[in-house]
Symmetry: C2
Subunit: 341 residues, 2 copies
C-alpha cells in the first residue's frame, strides 16, 4: 500500500501534470496519423520511433501551463494541445539533426534515428517535423506567434554557430557561455512560454514574465545538463559521462574552475583540454581540479539563483485561480534543478 509519507515532490509533480501530458501524447499521435496519411510507411516509422521516445514533453507542457496561467480556458473551439505539440516537433527535429551532426549512435538509451534509419531519414525526418511545427504555430498561433517562433529558431542556429566558433576557444568567458546557452536552448523555451501566454490573451507584462521564466528554466536546464555530463550516472542519463570533456567542450563547471584556478592549475587544465591524447586519460584529473575550485557547486548555485529569480518574477500572477498552475511551474523549476537524468 502506498504510504503518503513516501510521496516525493517529484511524485506530486508527475501526478499534477499527468492529465496534460496524456493529452499532449494523444494530440501528437492524432496529428502524426493525420499528417502522414498516404505517406511512405518508412516516414511514419521514423517519426514514430524518433518522437515517442520517452521524452518529458516539457516544452508543450510549458505552453499549455502558460496559456492557462494567462486565462486560457478550453471552449472546444481552440485546441491548445495541437499548438503545444509544435514545440515537441521542433525539439524532435533538432535532436534528429543533432544526431547527424554529432554522429551520435545513442539517444535516450536506444539507437539514434541516424544510427537506426540512416542519415537521409534523420535529416529529412527532421525537416518534416520542422515544417509541420512551423505550420502549426502559424495556423493555430497566428503571425505574432510565428514571428516569436522563428526568432527563436534563428537564434538556435546562431547559437550552434557560436558554439562551433567557441569550440576553438578554451578561454571562454561566463558571458560567452550564457550567450550561447540562451541561443541554443533558452530562447526556444522562452518562445514556448510566450506563445502560450499569447494564446491565453496575456498582457505584455505577463508575456514578458513568462518569457523570463522560460529563459531561466532553459538556462538552468542546460547548466544541470553540463553537471550531469561530469557527475551523472550513465545508467540514469543514458549518456556516457565525460563526453563534453572528451570533445573539448567548454561548459560551466570548467569555465568557473578556470576563472578561479591558480596559474599552475589553469595551465594544467588548458593543457589537458587542448591535447586530444592527454584528454583520453585526463577525466579524473580534470574532475578533481574542477572540484578543487568549486566549479560544480558554483555552477549549481548559478542555476539555483537563476531559477529563484524567475520564479519570483511570476508573483505578478496573484489571483487565487493562478495558484495551481504557479505551483506546477515552481515544481517544474525545482525538478529541473534536482533531476538526475
Amino acid at each position: 500500500m502506498a504510504d503518503a509519507a513516501m510521496t516525493t515532490p517529484k511524485d506530486e509533480l508527475m501526478v499534477a501534470i499527468a492529465p496534460d501530458v496524456a493529452k499532449i501524447e494523444q494530440s501528437m499521435r492524432e496529428d502524426l496519423q493525420e499528417v502522414t496519411t498516404g505517406s511512405d510507411p518508412l516516414l511514419s516509422e521514423v517519426l514514430e520511433y524518433g518522437i515517442f521516445n520517452g521524452g518529458k514533453r516539457l516544452r508543450p507542457l510549458l505552453l499549455v501551463l502558460a496559456a492557462r496561467l494567462c486565462g486560457f480556458r478550453s471552449d472546444g473551439k481552440r485546441d491548445i494541445y495541437k499548438l503545444a505539440i509544435a514545440f515537441e516537433y521542433l525539439h524532435g527535429a533538432t535532436l534528429f539533426h543533432d544526431d547527424v551532426i554529432d554522429r551520435a549512435d545513442m539517444r535516450r538509451g536506444k539507437p539514434s534515428v541516424n544510427k537506426k534509419f540512416g542519415v537521409v531519414a534523420a535529416i529529412l525526418g527532421g525537416d518534416f517535423l520542422h515544417s509541420r511545427s512551423m505550420f502549426l504555430v502559424g495556423a493555430l498561433g497566428g503571425i505574432d506567434a510565428l514571428k516569436i517562433f522563428c526568432q527563436a529558431t534563428n537564434a538556435m542556429v546562431d547559437g550552434e554557430f557560436l558554439q562551433l566558433r567557441n569550440a576553438q576557444n578554451y578561454n571562454l568567458s561566463e558571458d560567452d557561455y550564457f550567450a550561447a546557452v540562451k541561443g541554443k536552448t533558452a530562447l526556444l523555451i522562452a518562445a514556448t512560454c510566450e506563445i502560450g501566454a499569447l494564446a491565453g490573451g496575456a498582457t505584455t507584462i505577463q508575456q514578458h514574465a513568462l518569457a523570463e521564466y522560460g529563459i531561466g528554466l532553459g538556462t538552468a536546464f542546460q547548466i544541470i545538463d553540463d553537471l550531469l555530463d561530469y557527475q551523472g550516472e550513465t545508467v540514469q542519463t543514458g549518456k556516457a559521462v565525460g563526453n563534453d570533456f572528451q570533445e573539448g567542450k567548454m561548459t560551466l563547471p570548467l569555465i568557473l574552475a578556470l576563472s578561479s584556478a591558480s596559474a599552475e592549475d589553469k595551465a594544467r587544465l588548458l593543457f589537458l583540454l587542448e591535447n586530444e591524447s592527454a584528454r583520453q586519460d585526463g577525466f579524473s584529473e580534470v574532475y578533481g581540479l574542477i572540484e578543487k575550485y568549486d566549479g560544480f557547486s558554483s555552477s549549481r548555485k548559478r542555476a539555483e539563483s537563476i531559477v529563484a529569480k524567475v520564479v519570483a518574477g511570476l508573483r505578478l500572477f496573484s489571483g487565487e485561480e493562478c495558484r495551481p498552475v504557479l505551483s506546477v511551474l515552481n515544481a517544474l523549476a525545482q525538478y529541473v534543478l534536482a533531476r538526475k537524468k
Copy 2:
C-alpha cells in the same frame, strides 16, 4: 555590333526576365542582411556562399509572374519580391541538406556548402533558410499560403522517402517515377505558382491552372535533368555524366527502355544495374541499350507533351494585359526543354 538575327529565344527570355531577377537578387541581399544582423559572421558567410551561387532564380520568378498574371500590381505596400524569395531560400535549404545526404563535394562547379564549411554549417544553415522561408510565407502570404507551402514541403520529404524505397526497386514503373518526381520537385514549383496566384487575387480556376503549369514545368525540368545526366556535357552542367546510373538510380530514360526492351536486353540491363562492379564499366553499354529502345527520345517527348498541355491550360488568361507574362511563362517552359545545363 550585335546582330538582331543572332538573338535567340533564350536571349530574349533573359532580357524579359532581367528586371525581376535583379529585384529578386536585391531582395535576398537585403533580407539576409536584415535577418543575420548580430548573428555569427560564419552564418552570414555560409548563407551568402550557398545562396548567391549563380542559381537561375526560377522559383521566385515564377511566383512574381503568377501574381502578375492574376492581377497583382505593385502599390508600394505589399512586397511581392520578399514573398518570392522564400522559395529560393527553401530551394537553398534543400540543396544544403541534399549535399550532406549525397556527400556531394561539388555544386554548380564549386565546392558544396557541406564540403567547404562542413556538415554542421550545411545542416544548420539549411535549417535557418527553411525557417526563414516559412516565416516569410506565413507573414506575407498568410495562413492559406503557409498551408500550401507545408503540403509541398511535406510531399518533398515524402518523395525522398519514396525514392529511398525505390532505390531497391529496379522494376520501377513509369507511374512510380512520376509520383516520386511530383513529390520531390513538381509540387513545390506548383506551390510557388499557386501562392503567387493567391497574392495576385486569383480565382480558384486561375489558381488551379497555375498549379498545373507548375507541376508540368517541374516534371519537365526533372525529365530533362535525367536526360542531361546521361547526355549532358560536364563542362556545361558542372556535374559528372552517368552519376544516376552509377548510383543505380532509376530515371525515366532507363525505365522507358526497360519497358520496351527484349527479354534478353532487359535481363542485361537489370544485371548491369544490380551489380555495382558491372556498373563501373557499364555506362556506354547501358547508354547504347537505352538508345536502342528510344529511351532518350521517348523521355524528351514525354517532357514536350507535358509542357504543351500545361501551357495550353493557361489560355484562360485571355486578356490583352496578360500577353507579356504569358509569353514569358511559355518561353520559360521552352527554355526548360531546351536547356543544356
